[in-house]
Amino acid sequence: MNAPLAQYLIFSALLFTVGFAGALVRRNAILALVGIEIMLNAANLNFIAFWRFGPHPEALTGVMFVIFSIAVAAAEAAVGLALVIAIYRHRRTAQAPQFNSLRG
């Protein structure tokens, strides 16, 4: 309970790195989205940590930010999944490297 701020930040950085690596290397588009959600949650953890160790922990601003952020993330995930499903219907695949019709 009395862990210092640095531990939280290190954990958050690790979580972000894991999410980023997942988003970069997974060929499946859904799993890449999962990686992105993990990166988002790492950022949320930073909000909470900075709020908890900030000068006004009684003001609940960090929690407010995170709840908004989660709501936006949910909407974004819904759009992302809908796009993936729509592409899957046309292409019969969810592999991100094959989504290349926007190439120049």
């Binding site: 980023f20 988003a23 970069l24 290397v25 890449a32 991100a96 290349n100 926007l102 190439r103 120049g104």
Partner: protein, 667 residues
Amino acid sequence: MDFIVKYIWGAPLMPLAAAGVTALLPRARRRWAAGLAIGSMAFSFLLSLAAFTATLSHAGHAARATLNFRWFDFGASSVQLGFVIDPLSAVMLVMVTFVSLLVFIYSVGYMAHDENFTRFFCFLALFASAMLGLILANSLLLFFMCWELVGLASYLLIGFWYRKPAAAAAAKKAFITTRLGDLGFLLGILLLYARAGTLLFYDAGHGCLEQAAITRLLTQGLMGGLAVSTVISLLIFCGAIGKSGQVPLHVWLPDAMEGPTPVSALIHAATMVAAGVFLVARMYPLMSATLLPGTPSAALQVVTWIGALTAVFGASLAVAQNDIKRILAYSTVSQLGYMMMGLGVGGVAVGMFHLLCHAFFKALLFLGAGSVIHGCAEEQDIRQMGGLSKTMPVTFVAYAIGMLSLSGVPLLFSGFWSKDAILHAARHWPISQTPFLLGLIGAVLTAFYMTRQVSLVFLGATRSEAAGQAHESPLVMTVPLMLLAACSVLAGFVGTPAWPWFDSYLLGENATFDLARFSLDHQLSLMFLSTGLVAGAIGCGAWLYARRRASDPAEINLLIRKFYIDEFYAATVLRLNACFAQLSDWLDRVLWQGVTHALAACVQFLALVDRGADDLLINGGFDRATDLLRAGGGLASRGQNGQIQRYFRVLGFVVAVIAALLIWEVS
């Protein structure tokens, strides 16, 4: 008078409207075409009669009514046109509309088998309209316009059967020859306008034929030794020479017989060729103007000499012709000469009286000839005819009346009175007696060739199959003949020495009847002389031709070749023309073609330079620029490969670099 002159434009306008409508009709509407032309002509005839009666009830200068209007302005001056009704135009109006009406009706029969019937009536109506406009014109400009229009109608109608090469050539010859005279006419008009300032004939004291203008023209000094009025008169007379077939421009009139016979009767005998005579009569105040009272003016002397020469010339050529229409054509040339001579020696009344009588009997003769040609299956050679008096009695009687009139057989026939008036005036001409002698010779020749023609055509034995099968023409053709025959006889009685009604009418006086005038001025002895000569000529002709002989004494080579006039023109005028043509052809080939080619080469060289610049500079520059742009685009598009995770990687890399930079900045 003032009332009728306001509406007289209807006379030329109605046939013009008929011509316009007929021109739009389909070819098959033959009845419409004929009906329109004849109807409009009948209307014009009635209007002319109204105008004529109006002039009868006025005497002297009151018998002249004019209607002038402005056509257009240029600068400060304006061009005016107008109509005039006076005894001169009224009598011409009645004659022209009457003869036209009869010829139109006759044409219905004569042209019945022609496929271009509607076109024929369109042209005829156009001609009639222009002719009436010419007669009514009170402005030399309007006169000239109508003058050219009748020339055009004449051209169209001579060349009516244009598929026949001779007809096409004759039409061209007529048009070009008369144009030669019209050149002089036009110069005369310009000179008159320059010197008198107006082209109106009568304009309440300001017209060019009224005393003030004529005095001015007479006293305006000399041009090449002649008074200005004389120069203008002679130039205008050039037009009359061309149109009225006077020597030396008579060559077109005999060839004009290639047209249909009603055309020959109407245009080339009765009306259009007489327009030249009418022109001289109209311009008479100017023509006769002279500074020395008592002597004929120089212009009238020229008119007299040309007329007298033409009278003998035409008559002598008519003797040796074998084509029934060509004989009449040369006879017309000769009679037109008489009219000119009459105008020159005796004044307007003498010339116009012969014009009037001649119109009736020459139209009669031509229509009679048309009837003969129609009956003999288009045969025109009188040597192939003969004995037609039995098969075509009506035509024969009418033709004989025309022939007796033309020959000048005394008392009953109009030609006698009119020709005798001319001879009588010539006898008392103060300058010379030669025109009188020429006139007598012409009269003898006229009687001789007409006797020859009638004998060969109507008397004796039939000499060909076509003449043997001849038939009388239908009523639509013979009725106009009878009417014209009646006129040929009656017209003479209005101008006898005892009752010179025509003379008085033109001068605006009252005619009186006085038998004693026969004995004045050797009138009677001259009549006996001419009667004797005519009787001798007719007797001689009858003796020679009524019984057929082996050879024709009239076949003199000089006459058959028409005094070699055509050959003379071919050797001079046409040769000169050909030389000019050759010269300009050579210039064209060598000089102008060289210049043109050099210019073309210059332009081609410039074009080549232009094209090179275009290819190398503009096209090349643009090509390079677009190539570069495209290469740049290709390079830039290499990064956008559609791999979303590649973008993500780049994004991450960039963020890492920025973060590193920030950390390095801070520390």
